[in-house]
Every structure is written in C-alpha cells, then in structure tokens.
C-alpha cells in the first residue's frame, strides 16, 4: 500500500527543475550506468579535491521522474560535502530504499533525500531512485583509485 504519495512536491520540483544537470569539466571520474529493466540511463562525473571535498557532481541522463529527481537531489547533497560524509548518506539512502518500506528514514542523515521514502514500497522503482546514487558511489571509488 502507498502510505503517502510517492510524488512529493520536492521530487516533482527537482524533476521539473533539475539542479546541476549537464556534464561539466574538470572531473576525476566519469561513469555510465543503465537500469536494463526500464531503460533508465545516467552518465555522471565527480570532481574531488585532495582533502576529499566534493567540488562538483555533474550528470546527464534519461528516465522517469524518480531517477531524474534523485540525481538532482544527489547533486545538491553531495556538492560541497566530503567523500566520507556522502558515502554514509549513500549507505543510509540505500538502506532506506531496500527496506521495502519497513525501514524508518533518518532525516538527520538524509536531508531532502527523505522525500524518496515512499519509493521504497515499490521494488520496481527502487532501482530508479538508486541509479544515480550507485553511479555516484562508483565514480567516487574510481576517483579515489586514481
């Protein structure tokens, strides 16, 4: 059952007015992720400084409002934060998404990303929400490896 509408105002806002969209230079790592079940795609770049500060997350993609809005929210949360901090947000977000609606969202950690809590009830949409976040994690790991 849908406890609350999945389409929080905040998600629609981000979908209609995506933050930080577009691929920018410079960057340390670029990844391309696809969700084969629904065809959603994202190309994502990160720029990290030596202190582990995220200088930019830039992206381009196509897909449903959830996947697009998730990328936009990610951009806002990550930019200006640190690798360590964002990875723990990614973990919490993943835990929430994979909790099949049984897991309470930690607003302290998640910030705006808490708006996606309703998505967790829909296994098919969880992947949409996670697409950009998994791509981000991948990109950060690769950038560190360089």
């Amino acid at each position: 059952m849908i406890g609350e509408s999945m389409y929080q105002e905040l998600i629609l806002e981000h979908y209609k007015h995506p933050q930080g969209r577009g691929l920018r230079e410079p960057y340390d790592a670029e990844v391309h992720h696809v969700n084969p079940t629904c065809g959603d795609e994202i190309t994502l770049r990160v720029k990290v400084d030596d202190a582990g500060q995220i200088l930019d997350v830039s992206y381009e993609g196509q897909g449903c409002s959830i996947s697009q809005a998730a990328a936009s929210v990610l951009h806002e949360l990550a930019t200006g934060s640190t690798v360590a901090q964002t990875l723990s947000v990614v973990d919490e977000f993943t835990r929430l998404m994979q909790g099949r609606g049984q897991v309470a969202a930690d607003e302290e950690v998640l910030g705006d990303a808490v708006a996606f809590a309703g998505v967790a009830k829909f296994p098919a949409r969880v992947k949409c929400a996670l697409l950009s976040w998994m791509a981000y994690k991948d990109a950060v790991v690769r950038s560190a490896a360089q």
Partner: protein
C-alpha cells in the same frame, strides 16, 4: 454502462476484489488483466472447499480423500480439455505456468549425438537439433517465448531466427524466414503488448510446408476468445491459469498425442514413471509422463472452476464485450494529446490490450500517478517484451488491458487520469 454482450454488473458481484476500497477511499479500476486476472468467488470457494474437506495427494492414494482429490483433479483436466477443444483429455498437461509449458517443449529437443547414443532425449528425428537447424520465433514475443529458445539454441548449436514486426504492430510475415532447416516455429497467438492477433493459419501453413513443428503461445488468447486447439492446425499450445480467472501456480500445455508420445520426459520424479530400477526407468503414458512429482492439485481444480465459469458466460460473449471496450478505448485514447498507440489502432485482428506512450512522460510515472490518484491499475514497463520495445525505439509503454468485468466507465477513469498526469508533468 450498458454492454450489449454481458451483464457486467452481475459479473462484477462475483469478484470480491471489486467490493474493496483502496487506501484513501479510491475505488479500484483494474485494467491489468493482461498481466493477471482477478478471481471470481466460484474459483476461490472451490479451492477453499477442496483444501478444507477433500484434499489429499492424487493418483497414488487409495483412500476416500485420495479418490476425491484424484477425481476432482482429473475432472478438471476433462473440463479444460473440452474448453480448449482438445481431441483427447490425455493431451492436456498441467504445468506451473505458461513459461514451464514453453520450456517443456524446448527441452524436448536434444542434440543429434543424444540420438546416436540411444538417450531418452532426442531419439525422435523431429526432436533432434544441431548446427544449421533453425528455430523461428517473432520480435513480438513475451520473454517466456524467447529465452527458452535462446537456451535451446545454445545447448544444441541451432540458429534462432525471427519474424519482424511492422510499424503498425503486425507480424511481418516474410516467407523467407522459415526454411527447410526450420524444425520448430513458436509464436504468440495474441501479443501481450500490441493486442495483435497473429494469422496462425498462414504461419502454420509455412511451417507445415517446411516440415517444421509449430507451437502457439496462447497465454493471451485462450482467456479472451473462443479457442479450439484442434482447429488451429498447430502442434503445441501453451496457456496459463492466472490470466483466465484461475489461480496462480497452474498452466497448461496441449500437444498432439502422437508428438507428446514421441517426446522424451522433461522433469523426472514420482508419478511420471512406469517402473524404476536404480539404473534405468520406463515412463508413464501422457499426460502423466510430463507431470513429475505432486502436481498443482488445488490449482488445477481452481482452473477447472474458472473454465466452468467462463464456459457458462460463453467465450463469444466475453470476446464481444472486450471488443466493445477496445473500440471505446481506442476512440477515447485518440483524443488524449500526444498519446501514441503502439499496435494496431483498429479493431481488426486485435484483442483488448492497448499500449501507448505519452510524449515526454515516462510510463513509470504514468502508472504510478494513475494508481496513486485514481486507483487505476495499468501495467507500465516493457511487459516482458523488451525486444518489441527496442523495435519501436522506446524503453517502455503504459498498457491497459480489459476483461469481462471491465466497463466503459473504467476507461473514462483511465482517460481522466491521463489528463491529470499530463497536468502534473506540464
């Protein structure tokens, strides 16, 4: 609404789910029967009563409950045989779903060397397959009628070929696809995305001419049209209980007796044998040869009740009702701005399944808002027919599919919902 074919109000009373309200008081508008149908009380009660008072294992038990279960199970086979026009009840094999039925036939083919070595599999030349031999399917197939044949091609080295699909969603019946190397042709009777009803007689004629066997995936036709397997002129037909008012866990394979007899066993185990020694076995006659282990007993009995229900209403009436709904839906959807129907947009040779896209809005969003705001249940995605979507260059569609319990009022609700979706994403 007034239906000229069916007393829909009366029918809806048989389906307890329609008495239910969704959260927040939304009514349920169920337009996803192509995915799986709802169940009438007659089916639910038959199953409940059997489980409560008559249940036991079939075939092997000689006590009262065993006899009652066996009688109910085998009588379901009789009624399903009659429903699909099988010349013999023994040609009806119970599987767990249509996918198992399709895999069963695919696994009946073995490489040539099995034949030489006297293995149970592949002893009949019609069921041997090797490099150079061909399997033919189509681009509009459900994954369940694609993947089993891909796996078979991998096991044997045979080549997988397929008919294309035209821009208006019809089978592109290029006669060059089937050649004298073709050993099996397997296509959908009705597409689960396009609604297209394929020209079975023409395909069967091509297959016959080439000396190939022909299988029909009738998962989307048997629930919605009068189907007579003998008249179709094919060798195998697969269908599935849950799409035709029956429970989950039960499917049907019909095959010509002579072929079923020639096929090697598929799953090994209890009940499919005649005699077992440690080093070899002999097998029971069909249908039991293909029903290893305890079958889906209560599920077959439930499906028996479902075909009784459908038979009483009459499949001609069901077909006519869905035709009315489909005509109404095609007209109504044409009015929605930027909506593109994927599949035939006339009533000719098509069933009650209508898939479409809305410009710039992802089907996942369409489906979720329809559900969330209007209680309208449609299916969104590639509907287990990804190659067909690749063919049309789209990742996904929204699909509305109708059944005997649907009304034109529900189609109005869908259209209202689509207008709202467009507003949300404007």
């Amino acid at each position: 609404m007034t239906s000229f074919s069916l007393d829909v109000e009366k029918i809806r009373k048989d389906f307890p789910v329609f008495s239910r309200e969704l959260p927040d008081g939304r009514p349920l508008v169920y337009l996803d029967s192509g995915n799986s149908s709802q169940k009438p009380n007659q089916v639910i009660e038959t199953m409940r009563e059997h489980l409560a008072l008559h249940y036991s294992n079939v075939g092997r038990a000689m006590h009262v409950l065993g006899a009652e279960s066996t009688e109910a199970y085998e009588s379901a086979r009789d009624r399903i045989a009659a429903f699909v026009g099988a010349p013999s009840r023994d040609e009806i094999i119970f599987t767990k779903n249509a996918s198992e039925a399709l895999n069963l036939v695919a696994y009946s083919f073995g490489p040539h060397h099995w034949r030489a070595s006297g293995t149970a599999a592949g002893t009949d030349p019609r069921f041997t397959l090797g490099p150079g031999d061909e399997i033919v399917i189509s681009e509009m197939e459900h994954h369940s009628n694609i993947v089993p044949w891909q796996l078979l091609a991998q096991r044997t080295g045979a080549t997988l070929k397929w008919f294309g699909v035209t821009d208006d969603g019809r089978l592109d019946l290029d006669p060059a696809v089937i050649t004298e190397r073709t050993k099996i042709v397997s296509i959908a009777h009705q597409s689960n995305v396009l609604g297209t009803v394929n020209p079975v007689a023409e395909v069967a004629a091509l297959a016959r001419e080439a000396g190939a066997l022909i299988m029909l995936d009738a998962s989307q036709s048997v629930p919605h049209h009068p189907v007579n397997v003998a008249e179709l002129g094919v060798d195998f037909v697969a269908c599935t209980g849950h799409k035709m008012l029956g429970p989950s866990g039960i499917g049907v394979l019909w095959g010509r007796a002579e072929l079923l007899d020639a096929m090697p066993p598929f799953l090994g185990g209890g009940e499919m044998i005649e005699a077992v020694w440690m080093d070899h076995s002999t097998y029971a006659p069909v249908p039991h040869k293909f029903e290893a282990g305890t079958p889906p007993i209560v599920e077959a009995i439930g499906l028996g009740a479902a075909v009784d229900y459908l038979g009483e209403i009459g499949m001609e009436a069901v077909e006519a009702h869905e035709r009315e709904l489909t005509g109404y839906a095609l007209d109504a959807l044409r009015e929605v701005p930027s909506l593109r129907i994927i599949g035939p947009d006339s009533l000719e040779a098509r069933g009650g399944t209508v898939s479409f896209t809305l410009e710039g809005i992802h089907p996942h969003d369409v489906g979720q808002i329809l559900d969330d705001q209007f209680g309208v249940a449609v299916r969104v995605g590639h509907h287990c027919a990804r190659p067909l979507h690749l063919r049309f260059g789209i990742p996904a569609t929204t699909r509305a599919s109708f059944y005997l319990y649907n009304t034109t009022g529900e189609i109005d609700a869908l259209v209202r919902g689509l207008h709202h979706v467009q507003k949300v994403f404007a």
